[in-house]
Each structure stands twice: as C-alpha cells, then as structure tokens.
C-alpha cells in the first residue's frame, strides 16, 4: 500500500478566547490522504471544515495530535517552507489572494519566495498559466478579470510552485456558475494528471466529482467514503444540514415511482444512461 501524502492523527484544535475560555473547533480528527486522491471535505457552516483545511499546510497548528505531510510534522517551524511547497492552498475570496498588479507577477510571487532562479521562472509561469487556461491574460491587471479568472490565477500561483497537493478552501463559493464550471474543469484536469486535490466545499455537485468524501460535524469526522456511499445516507446528511446533488434527488424521486430505476445515481449523465437503459429494455424509443 502506498504511503499517505498527508496523515492527520487525532487532531484537536481550540481557539482560546481568553485565559479561561476556549472554543473547541476540531475534536480528535484522523484520516489519511493518499497521492492522487480527490478528497472533498463537507460540513455545514461552523462544522470546522475550513479550520481543518488550514491545518493541512501548517497555517494553523493542532492543539493536540499531529499532522504529517510526507513525514514532515507541521508543528516544526523549520519544515514550514518544505510543507507549504508540497501543499498549496487556494482561498475563498478571489480578490484577497492576488498580491501583484499584473497576473504574471502574481504567479511569480510564490516562486520568488522559494528562491526559484530567475532563469527557470518564465518556464514555470508559462506552464502554470497554460494549465489554468490564462496564458492570454499574463500582462493584465487583476481588477480587469472576472472572479473565476482571478481564482484561476490564484491556482496558477500555486501550480507554479509545483506542489504535490492542492487544497481549495471553498474556492468556488464566491463564483458564478460559469466561474465555478471553469475551476472544476481545471481541478478535474489537474487530478487526472496526478495532482492530489483536497476540496472544502458545500456544493454537492462538486462533491460528486471526488474520489473520497469526508463529512465533518461539530469538529468530528462523521463519515468517510466514496460520494455514492455517502449520498446513500440521505437522512443523516439532511440532519447535518447537508444536501445531495440534484441528480441524486431526481434518481430517488423516480425510484419511488419505479423501483427498477436505480436510486444511487449521482451524476447527471448517469441519469441519462439509466433512462436510456430502461427505455431500451421496455421497448420505448427515446430520441
């Protein structure tokens, strides 16, 4: 079995308000993330999912327990740079993570920080902008870009640093449908090329894309499984104020009327397949 890229071992985290009061945000969380996985972390507002994601590159450090990124403990200050080179993070607000006045310079920012020689930078910037489809915008100022484009630049800024894992902390929540679509396409492509993805989200259609889902509630891991397994627990998810993808809702409804129609479908194209399958079987022609 391959070694996990990120190991989360019994991690608890609390914010201290003042001397004698603190808020427990994470409580004994454990899971592993393996190279090449696409992990979705879901949970409703205040469940601690965002706090958890900020632990993965050592921005926050566990109050107890340990996190290892390729055997580097995030608590060790000396290893911080190594860890952040391996685990890149894109945040929620597209406007608040672009530092420079033109796209190209912003992508260069991370490279400058990790002292990539200037001769190598151009090539890496070209590669990163190409990967997110923003090559034509390299000389543009960020305020002339749409939200989705800004978020793609933010991803490029991380990609140029050649990380092993990309963490998206609700990176699509501020975007419109088109922007979100673009980001998801980019993520899909990166994952296909071998990049490990951790996506913190509450958009269930994004969760359906993942290979593993971790459900968080009150700072604890409630469920871990494939999206199809997770969405079976419709009632539990509902109690946790979480939804299932529209495709799955539809499949369930149809299943109630027609038990031959499978209830565990989660992708739109699966619905289409199922309708085709059943109509062929029953000799009904669907155009």
């Amino acid at each position: 079995m391959t070694k996990p890229l990120i190991q989360v071992n019994n991690v608890s985290f609390e914010y201290s308000l003042n001397n004698n009061r603190s808020i427990q945000v994470l409580n004994e969380v454990s899971f592993d993330i393996f190279p090449g996985e696409y992990v979705a972390i879901i949970g409703h507002n205040g469940s601690g999912k965002s706090t958890l994601s900020k632990h993965l590159n050592g921005i926050l450090k566990p109050s107890s327990g340990d996190i290892f990124v390729s055997d580097h403990n995030t608590k060790e200050q000396k290893l911080q740079r190594e860890i952040r080179k391996k685990v890149g993070m894109v945040f929620q607000h597209p406007d608040n993570q672009i530092i420079a006045t033109i796209v190209e310079d912003d992508v260069a920012f991370g490279l400058e920080n990790i002292e990539v020689p200037a001769s190598e930078m151009k090539e890496r910037i070209d590669f990163a902008l190409e990967a997110v489809g923003m090559s034509d915008f390299r000389k543009r100022p960020p305020h002339h870009l749409s939200g989705g484009q800004k978020q793609r630049v933010a991803i490029a800024g991380i990609l140029a640093m050649k990380p092993d894992c990309l963490v998206l902390d609700e990176a699509t929540s501020m975007l419109d449908t088109y922007g979100r679509r673009d980001i998801l396409d980019v993520i899909r492509k990166l994952n296909n090329e071998g990049m490990t993805i951790v996506s913190v989200t509450h958009h269930m259609s994004e969760v359906a894309e993942a290979s593993k889902v971790i459900v968080i509630e009150k700072g604890q891991v409630v469920m871990v499984g494939t999206p199809r397994e997770i969405f079976q627990h419709y009632e539990l998810l509902h109690r946790l104020q979480l939804d299932v993808p529209v495709a799955n809702q539809l499949a369930r409804l149809v299943h109630e009327y027609d038990h031959e129609f499978q209830a565990d479908l989660i992708h739109n194209d699966e619905i289409v397949q199922e309708v085709m399958r059943l109509s062929a079987k029953r000799g009904v022609y669907v155009g």
Partner: protein, 281 residues
C-alpha cells in the same frame, strides 16, 4: 446630479498607463525614474524665465515623442490650477522680503510688488506645470508594475544599510493593487447607503463639517473591510511561502540598453544646461 455619481472606478488616475509602444515606453523603467528625478531637481532649482520656458518646451516635446496626446498632461494641470493660483497670490503678497530686488512696481502698506516677486510667481507656476507634465509622461508611459520594479532595483544598494527594500516595494505594489478593489468596495457602500437615504455631495461646498460628516458612514466600514482583506491576504501570502526578511529571487530583471544610457546622458546634459547656462532673463 451627475449620473456617474457612484462610478468611482472610472475616475482612478493612478497608473493610467497608455501603451503606445513609443521610444519612451520602451526605455528601462530604472533609467526613466532616474532621469525623471534629475529633471525634476533641475526644474525646481532653475529660476530664470528662459530656462523654465525651455524646460516647458522640453516637457511638451516628451509628450510628442512618447506619442501621448498633450491633452492628458493638460487634464493633469486642470485640478492643480486652484493651488497654483492660491500659491501665486500668497507668493505675491508675502514673499516680498525674500524677493525684494529689481524694480519696485507697487509699494502700498505691507504690499510690495517688485519685478523679482513677479518673476517668483511666474516661475513657480511654470515649474508646477513642467513637473506635472513630466510626471504625466512618466506614469502614462510606464506601467505601475514597471515603476515598482524600477524603484525596487534602484533602491537595491540600500540593502547594505539594512533598509528593507523588498518589503518597501511590496507595500507599494499591494497598495496599488488594492486601489481599484477599494474603489469598487466604496462604490458599493455608497450605493448601499444612498439606497437607505444617505446623501453624498449634496451639501454646499463651504459647509466643510457637513461634507466631512457625510463621508464617515463610508470610511468606517471601508476600514473594516480593509482589515478583513488584509487578514486574508496575509494567509494567502503565507500559504505561498512568504517569510518577511528572508532571501528571495527576483522575476523581473531589466537590462539597460545603449539607448537607455543615451537617454539618461541626454537628460543629465539637459539638467546641467538648465542649471549652469547664464540665461539672460
């Protein structure tokens, strides 16, 4: 009321780069900044009519070779006119002790107008215009990114005396980067406040206190937002391995060409001419 009342983003003049690809545009930004500084110093010291008219003509000529319409320069002068006028009146009335030489024209009570004080007034007005023209050419022909890169690399030697050159350049960059963002933010807030009945800019201009109070409901939330953004930005920078004070490599490297040196030399010669040549008036 103007229909563009809330359109703040369209009025931002900082970094109004106008790419025409002229000779001036293609100059090394470091050379441009150096030449700009030298010329401004020379213009600020030169105190003859002829010298200043030559300098003004030179500034106009710069517009011509950078293929930027001179109207851009004039629109920069327009908002400065009240200042120039107030300054002129003050200088005319109160600088007579310093500039008391030459022919006396008026000597009435404390008012003493001489040919020297008139010269002072006209020359300072000319200087004002020259310097506005010059800085317009600089900012219109150089992108803000180039300017900050230029400043960073010009200040580079100061690293030896522990001056945080990179941090300084980064502060400028971030400040410039967020100007349009905050302008848009402010626009949103003004619209939100106006839709709840707040009025902006409707009081008469002399009611300064009232006009100032009008701004508070915008400024305070804007500060709030700025703080929240700053916090986010710190996280994003840290996530990309930024550690203040540590070694970094630099992406933008400029290499001065012979045309750059020629341009710099020309500006130095021009400055020397302005300062040293005994102009008759």
């Amino acid at each position: 009321m103007a229909s563009f009342e809330f359109e703040l983003t369209r009025n931002i003049t900082i970094g109004q780069y106008l790419p025409t690809g002229s000779l001036i545009h293609r100059l090394d930004p470091r050379i441009k900044l150096l030449a700009f500084t030298i010329l401004v110093i020379a213009m600020a010291i030169c105190h003859t009519y002829v010298g200043n008219f030559i300098a003004l003509a030179f500034a106009c000529y710069l517009f011509y070779i950078s293929r930027i319409p001179i109207s851009y320069g004039l629109s920069g002068v327009k908002p400065a006119i009240p200042f120039i006028l107030v300054l002129a009146v003050l200088q005319l009335l109160f600088y007579s002790e310093i500039a008391s030489g030459g022919t006396v024209f008026v000597d009435y009570g404390f008012i003493l107008i001489t040919s020297d004080s008139i010269r002072l007034v006209i020359v300072s007005a000319l200087r004002f215009i020259e310097i506005i023209f010059l800085s317009s050419v600089l900012t219109l022909s150089t992108s803000t990114t180039q300017i900050t890169h230029g400043i960073e690399s010009l200040l580079d030697p100061l690293k030896h005396v522990k001056f945080p050159v990179h941090e300084f350049a980064l502060i400028i960059t971030i400040a410039i980067r967020f100007v349009p963002t905050f302008a848009m933010e402010m626009e949103k807030m003004m619209k939100a406040q106006a839709s709840r009945g707040a009025e902006f800019g409707t009081g008469a201009w002399w009611r300064i206190i009232q006009r100032t109070k009008d701004v508070f409901p915008i400024i305070i939330p804007l500060f709030n937002v700025a703080m929240a953004r700053a916090e986010d930005l710190v996280l994003a920078m840290e996530a990309r391995c930024y550690t203040p004070g540590s070694e970094r490599s630099i992406y933008a490297k400029y290499k001065a060409k012979s045309t750059d040196y020629a341009a710099l030399l020309f500006c130095i010669l021009f400055a020397v001419l302005l300062l040293a040549f005994p102009f008759p008036y």
